[in-house]
Amino acid sequence: MNEYPKAVSRIAVSYLILFFSFKLGTFECIPHWIAYWMIYNTLETIAVYEKSVMLLRSLTVLLIGYELISWLLSAFGVMIDQSFLTIFFLALSLYLHYQLLTNLADIAQRHQCSQAKRIRQLRDARTLFSTISVLPISWNMTGMIIFIAIGLIISIWLMRTLYTYSYDEKLLVRKQAQIARAMESS
């Protein structure tokens, strides 16, 4: 059974994890390294259609390591003030998400799925949002609420788009299977 649609769904869930944060004191209940672990596990499946996605493996491993260590340290209340490391890994994650979504959009386009353009647009919006969110802008309350709302909309919209894309891929797989069976029987 073609695992590609499932892989896309998993990526959708990973974006949900990356946007939201559920903390109990200093303990992050659903840490970001889980999201990157999910992404890592989908790369081989996606590589069936887009080989270049395997270039993201090393970056994903690095990000899993970084997020895991940060999560463990913050769970024990240890805060490390090394902002240059944070910036460095932010740059890596920015690239990773951009390239991953580009790869998915390319595959969608080749499979003539309607979500290709939307994925690219949301990819760009997410990149801009992530960049602006780390700039030292002092937001007033209204500005902050609007900004967070925009981020929420982008994340939910991206998730929804990836889910509908995964559904379309599932239908495509079924259709291909039907055609294959019909050809065999004829």
Partner: protein
């Protein structure tokens, strides 16, 4: 940059940033285009041209502290002209400059460094002029080659340039910045090589090489940065390859690879203000590998490239946290590290500096005192620490301590008092420590005179207005000769520094200093003593009022509706007497005004202008406007 230590900090910061960029480039080498791989070096340019620590932060703060500690250990035995052992090194420029002749080994090293920059620049200039002279004598290319260059330029929509041929030359290169010249060997040249060189001309790569060469001079003694600049130069060539490949198609790309392969055994020219297609066998191999994985990078990669560049900018500006104090350990070097960390701390606010000094006195913490010690006292810090007053408090009713009568006495110099209050059954005793604050990079604090103690009798009426000791030094005293008398006014200004409550210590105030503390409120208390010299009466009904005139067009004086009355109003104080002829002809009254808005400045909006009035038997005998700022009344 005034000394060798400033250069050391600068070159280490640039090196660290270069390492981070190299790691990032390596991670993304097959993911982002050669344009990005070269473009990311623009962040390094910013780092080289901006003084390290310009915004008060460094990539790694401890590195700065470490160098400061090493500097102090070395310089405390030398008598350098360019460096003071106990003054933190702050770079205000990336270019070296001298204030006097060298007088120590570290001064001489700095002179050698500056001489190295100069000789590097002179060498580049000499090479440039020699090559220019040589090429001036070279023969221009023949018509066939000229036509070939013109055809290539026309085909790929580039501008042709002047070309000369040099005998014995092994490779093609471009020379010159503003009027570039294509320098060719005598053999036939492939169109793709010409395309490569014309693209160098189009994108002014010679000028970029000149800029990199000049920046390399600034760090001529850092071998790691030599490697980095070599990498930058190779990235520029790889970018030119990318541009060539974008212009040609199919089999031509393979031909281009073969052309590069043929250059692996050739020597390559590498001179100032030149660019060359050949840059060494090792690099040629890498360039061929890049050609094999060539692709036209998809649209939109520019967006993520720019965003990554923006994210990395804080690395240039120093995103590390500002220096925090290192607790001293028993080793000598540990002590020096702790002292270095205190010297590098900067107090942006007057209140923060005062908080550090005061809590250093209260907790006997030398590091807190050192953090705000003026640089002029650093060399004798041990005797300064020995001479600190001993203070204690037992009456922190409104604050752990109070700051009184802060006044700017000169440009960036503020004087005032720290007041610590102790309570006994009969007296309130306050210890006044005179302080002086001076602005260096941040605010510094030192004791400014003898410590005095003052007592307040708890039983004396009206003696405890806001716990002010009226015999202690005031913010200002004013004497006014008026129409029917004279008045003496003593003004005291009190500042309360923001302080957290330590809930683990029975709700007492925290003794941990806060560098960013501000004044959370302040109040002004005045004692006004009026002596009446006017007409005699059998009977005196006296009213006296002092009203803050700020933002008031109409001043309303509180009145005393009936005899006898004595009252103190909230907006302007009034004291009214009904007295017979045995009055001693003096009136003593008090006025206080509060500012509840916090501020980092000593100017907190305390009122300066007052209306003062005295009425005797319903007749106004005195009415003046007093301006404390101008020390003037009318």
């Amino acid at each position: 940059m005034r000394n060798i230590w400033g250069f050391l900090i600068q070159t280490l910061e640039v090196s660290l940033l270069a390492i981070l960029l190299l790691i990032l480039k390596h991670l993304l080498k097959d993911k982002l285009s050669p344009r990005w791989q070269y473009g990311i070096w623009s962040i390094l340019i910013l780092s080289i041209l901006l003084p390290a620590g310009l915004f008060g932060t460094y990539l790694i703060p401890l590195l700065d502290v470490f160098i400061e500690a090493v500097k102090t250990i070395c310089e405390s035995h030398l008598h350098s002209s360019y460096t003071q052992a106990y003054v933190a090194v702050i770079n205000t420029s990336v270019f070296p400059y001298f204030t006097s002749f060298p007088s120590s080994i570290t001064d001489v090293l700095f002179v050698i460094y500056a001489a190295g920059i100069l000789s590097g620049m002179i060498k580049y200039l000499k090479d440039y002029l020699s090559l220019k002279k040589l090429l001036h004598k070279a023969e221009p290319v023949n018509e066939r080659v000229k036509k070939q260059i013109g055809d290539v330029a026309h085909r790929y929509q580039l501008s042709p340039c002047k070309a000369v041929v040099v005998e014995g030359l092994s490779s093609v290169f471009v020379f010159g910045i503003f009027k570039p010249v294509l320098v060719l060997p005598q053999e036939e040249i492939d169109d793709k090589i010409l395309l490569h060189e014309l693209l160098h001309v189009r994108y002014k790569d010679s000028l970029q090489n000149v800029i990199w060469s000049i920046l390399k001079c600034l760090h001529w003694c850092n071998p790691f940065l030599h490697y980095v600049f070599h990498t930058i130069s190779n990235d520029l060539e790889a970018l030119c390859d990318q541009r060539v490949l974008e212009h040609i198609q199919g089999e031509e790309r393979r031909d281009y690879g073969r052309i590069l392969l043929a250059m692996t055994n050739e020597k390559y020219p590498h001179a100032f203000a030149t660019t060359s297609i050949s840059n060494g066998a090792g690099q040629i191999k890498k360039r061929i590998e890049a050609i094999t994985r060539f692709k036209k990078y998809p649209k939109g990669m520019g967006l993520v490239s720019v965003c990554i560049g923006i994210l990395l900018l804080p690395l240039v500006l120093g995103s590390g946290s500002s220096v925090t104090m290192i607790e001293a350990n028993t080793s000598d070097f540990g002590q020096q590290l702790s002292l270095a960390s205190t010297r590098l701390m900067t107090m942006p606010n007057v209140a923060g500096a005062i908080d550090y000094y005061t809590k250093g006195l209260l907790t006997n913490n030398d590091a807190y005192i050192m953090a705000v010690m003026p640089s002029s006292l650093q060399s004798e810090y041990l005797s300064v620490l020995d001479d600190l007053p001993e203070v204690s408090i037992s009456y922190p009713n409104e604050a752990l301590y109070r700051v009184l009568n802060l006044k700017e006495t000169a440009d960036h110099v503020i004087e005032g008092f720290l007041v610590f209050t102790n309570n006994s059954n009969d007296f309130i005793t306050s210890t006044y420590v005179p302080i002086k604050l001076t602005k260096e990079i941040g605010w510094k604090v030192q004791q400014n005179g003898k410590v005095e103690q003052y007592e307040l009798d708890r039983s004396a009426p009206f003696s405890q207005i806001r716990n002010i000791h009226w015999d202690a030094p005031a913010y200002g005293t004013y004497h006014m000769e008026l129409e029917n008398g004279e008045t003496d006014i003593s003004v005291h200004r009190t500042y309360i520094v923001q302080n957290e409550t330590d809930y683990f210590n029975m709700g007492f105030y925290s003794t941990k200093p806060n560098a960013n503390a501000i004044f959370e409120r302040s109040y002004q208390t005045m004692k006004i003593k009026y002596t009446y010299t006017g007409d005699d009466f059998d009977y005196y009904r006296i009213e006296s009022a002092m009203v803050d005139k700020a933002d008031k067009d109409v001043v309303r004086y509180p009145t005393c509706p009936q005899n006898p009355c004595t009252s103190i109003g909230s907006d302007g104080s009034i004291r009214a007497y009904a007295i017979d002829e045995n009055w001693d002809r003096t009136i003593e009254m008090y006025h206080t005004s509060d500012v509840h808005e916090s501020s980092s400045e000593i100017e907190m909006g305390l009122p300066d202008i007052f209306d003062y009035r005295v009425r005797i038997n319903w007749e106004t005998v005195e009415e003046v406007i007093l301006d404390l700022k101008e020390d003037h009344y009318e």
